[in-house]
């Protein structure tokens, strides 16, 4: 099919948990291609099947249907201990009866490496995660962040081909979490190991991932770079889940290449971009438009007397949030619009009740397929 060799290639993975009260479809025909050397992020709300997908790759769960290839080779018949894939567990799962050093050395001892080589690797791993002075401690004597580093070092020690990380930062406080994001990213670049990280935190996904797969209800909604996911969401779920956005109901009047001329509910007109699954939309179709708050331009109305584009509205609320100000603007539509304006610009402040004119580029406004 493809000539490119992927680190992980999931083909139509389906996983059904048989439960007493009924079957749970945790993964529904998921296909995924993770490149070698990539920092890949699985992003989605709680219960969407992220952990299940990781567990399938690690070998803890048998697939109900589908296949998983690792560098082109089928691994479905291999038990976890024969897969060159290591996991950093959400709850770390460090061995409580072993010191930090012994925890890190565990995989190397299992692989029957030479004791001298093991000692060297452990030392290197301890330095890598800045834990050298804790080598002789037991996990119960470490803080959450320290345990997290040990779990990371333990999983990296045998230099696996793929490292799976299940919400590794969720137990840390905000400061530490942000510092660890950078460290993880750096670690991935230094080691050249393919990282697959699971998170439900969009900031984490956007700041670390080379590519992101957005999941919902056991299916992948969209895969792409952080910019693609943010700027060109393919459907309502992705647009809503990643960042803030405004949804506008509209009807397509005409289509020109990949730009659609749309009429909003109140009769105002705007251009919007048609791409991906939305490209099949035709004039007359009722569609949903998505515009990010920071892509909206707001001007006092009297500055543009009778200007053709621009949608009339009035400010109903304004919230100062430091770098920006959020304005809630009532249009002739059902839901008010949220606009986000930077405070550093010398742009005028708008008062509540002020009449304004709102506009945005066709490129910043996406037609969503559903």
């Amino acid at each position: 099919m493809t000539s490119e060799l992927f680190a992980v290639n999931g083909i139509s993975i389906t996983k059904v948990y048989a439960g007493g009260t009924g079957d749970v479809v945790a993964l529904d025909d998921v296909s995924i291609s993770i490149k070698d050397n990539e920092f890949f992020v699985l992003l989605g709300p709680s219960g969407c099947g992220k952990t299940t997908l990781l567990r399938c790759i690690a070998g803890f769960e048998a697939l109900t249907a589908g296949r998983i290839l690792l560098f082109g080779e089928g691994i479905d018949h291999l038990p976890p201990h024969r897969r060159p894939v290591n996991t950093v567990f959400q709850h770390y799962a460090l061995f409580p009866h072993m010191t930090v050093s012994d925890n890190i050395a565990f995989s190397l001892r299992m692989l029957r490496r030479d004791e001298r080589e093991i000692a060297q690797t452990v030392e290197r791993m301890l330095a890598l995660v800045h834990m050298a002075e804790f080598a002789g401690r037991y996990p119960a004597q470490l803080s959450g962040g320290q345990q997290q580093r040990v779990a990371l070092a333990r999983a990296l020690a045998s230099h696996p081909k793929v490292l799976l990380l299940d919400e590794p930062l969720s137990a840390l406080d905000l400061k530490l979490r942000q510092a660890m994001r950078l460290e993880l990213k750096q670690l991935q670049e230094e080691t050249g190991i393919t990282f697959v990280l699971v998170t439900h935190d969009q900031d984490e996904a956007l700041s670390m991932g080379d590519r992101i797969a957005v999941m919902s209800k056991g299916a992948i909604q969209q895969t792409g770079t952080p910019r693609e996911i943010y700027d060109t969401p393919v459907n309502r779920f992705v647009a809503d889940f990643i960042g803030e956005t405004n949804f506008l109901d509209a009807t397509i009047r005409s289509v020109n290449a990949n730009t659609a001329d749309c009429v909003l509910e109140g009769g105002a007109r705007t251009g919007a971009t048609l791409a991906g699954p939305a490209a099949r939309m035709r004039p007359g179709d009722r569609v949903l438009l998505s515009v990010r708050p920071e892509k909206i331009a707001v001007r006092p109305r009297q500055q543009q007397p009778g200007a053709g584009h621009g949608i009339d509205g009035s400010i109903t609320r304004s919230v100062y949030i430091g770098t920006d100000t959020l304005y809630q603007i009532a249009l002739d539509t059902r839901t008010p619009l949220i606009a986000r304006l930077q405070n550093s610009r010398q742009a005028t402040d708008f008062a509540v009740g002020e009449a304004v004119s709102v506009s945005f580029d066709a490129a910043a406004c996406r037609v969503l397929a559903d």
Binding site: A58, G59, F60, P79, P80, H81, R82, V85, N86, T87, F89, H91, A93, L94, F95, P96, H97, F106, S107, M110, L111, Y138, A140, R154, A155, S158
Partner: protein, 313 residues
């Protein structure tokens, strides 16, 4: 009169509270203390005292101090010239009991561990039924159970009948009245004492560690040896002690299933009070057994607390 606004000195009030708490705790403890003192410490003292007295002709003791019982344990006194010759007869009984208890403990562990593991990994609702089933033998008197076992394993019993019928053996297997019979009896009697502590330990075990180990290239047996067993160790130790110590002094199983041929410590002691009527010697034998067990326990506890202290908290 001091002004009522003056608060009482803090140290004093805290001291009083601590004393009150201590008193309350002593009150809670007192029934147990009474039972232990009355039924354990007092008889123990009597036994220690008796072991240093002279045997009466028809049982009982004569109140004359003597270390003869302890001498008798290791040496044989020549009837004519009163010289002492080393005699390992009693040591052999102790050694045999030790081996029997060790074998029984090992066997209980080998049978009990898979059982406990199986129960601990069952769904919550089923666990309790199984734990209850483990205790079923205790609903029946030990003597009855042991006699029933004797009927099962004796030459004309159903076990040998079945084996003969299946053509697996030509003559009945001699199990009853042998060391093997005693061993089977000990295992049967004490197995639940092994299973329950093991179950409690494995129940508490975090099975995510098994996944972590297998993720890090450990095979099943290695996981058992390097992750599950070390973490279930408190249960293994508790179970082993609960089987080993009573096995060492067991009386009913060796008496009924061993036919009293190969004496174990329990039989030896019982014999001194019933047949030979040498109370001081029986007491000495009991004191020696207790001392050995206590010393072994002390050494063990010392070692463990040193190792554990560093590990968990």
């Amino acid at each position: 009169m001091p002004s009522p606004a003056t608060p009482p000195p803090r140290a004093a009030s805290e001291h009083a509270r601590a004393r009150r708490r201590l008193k309350a705790r002593a009150l809670l403890l007192s029934p147990a203390l009474l039972v232990i003192c009355g039924l354990l410490v007092l008889p123990l003292c009597i036994i220690v005292v008796y072991s240093f007295l002279t045997p009466g002709t028809y049982g009982g003791v004569v109140w004359r101090f003597s270390t003869e019982s302890y001498v008798q344990f290791l040496f044989e006194r020549d009837l004519f010239d009163d010289t002492l010759a080393f005699s390992p007869a009693y040591l052999q009984i102790y050694w045999r009991s030790f081996i029997q208890a060790l074998v029984a403990t090992t066997a209980c562990f080998l049978i009990g561990f898979p059982t406990a593991y199986y129960i601990a990994t069952l769904p919550e609702r089923k666990k309790y039924m199984w734990v209850l089933l483990i205790t079923v033998p205790y609903w029946i008197n030990l003597l009855i159970r042991t006699i029933a076992m004797l009927f099962l394993i004796r030459n004309e019993g159903p076990l040998n009948h079945a084996l003969l019928f299946a053509g697996l053996v030509d003559a009945p297997l001699k199990i009853a009245y042998t060391n093997i019979g005693v061993g089977i009896g000990l295992i049967y009697t004490y197995l639940p004492f092994m299973v329950l502590p093991l179950y409690a330990a494995i129940e508490r075990f975090d099975f995510r560690l098994v996944e972590a180990a297998s993720d890090l290239y450990a095979r099943r047996w290695t996981i058992l040896r390097r992750v599950i067993l070390p973490l279930a160790m408190p249960g293994v130790v508790a179970g082993s002690l609960l089987v080993f110590i009573p096995s060492l002094g067991a009386f009913i199983a060796p008496d009924l299933l061993g036919g009293g041929k190969n004496l174990m410590i329990g039989n030896l002691i019982a014999l001194q009070f019933q047949g030979s009527r040498n109370w001081p010697f029986g007491s000495a034998a009991a004191v020696i057994l207790m001392t050995i067990v206590l010393c072994a326990l002390l050494v063990y506890v010392r070692q463990q607390s040193k190792a554990r202290l560093r590990q968990l908290r």
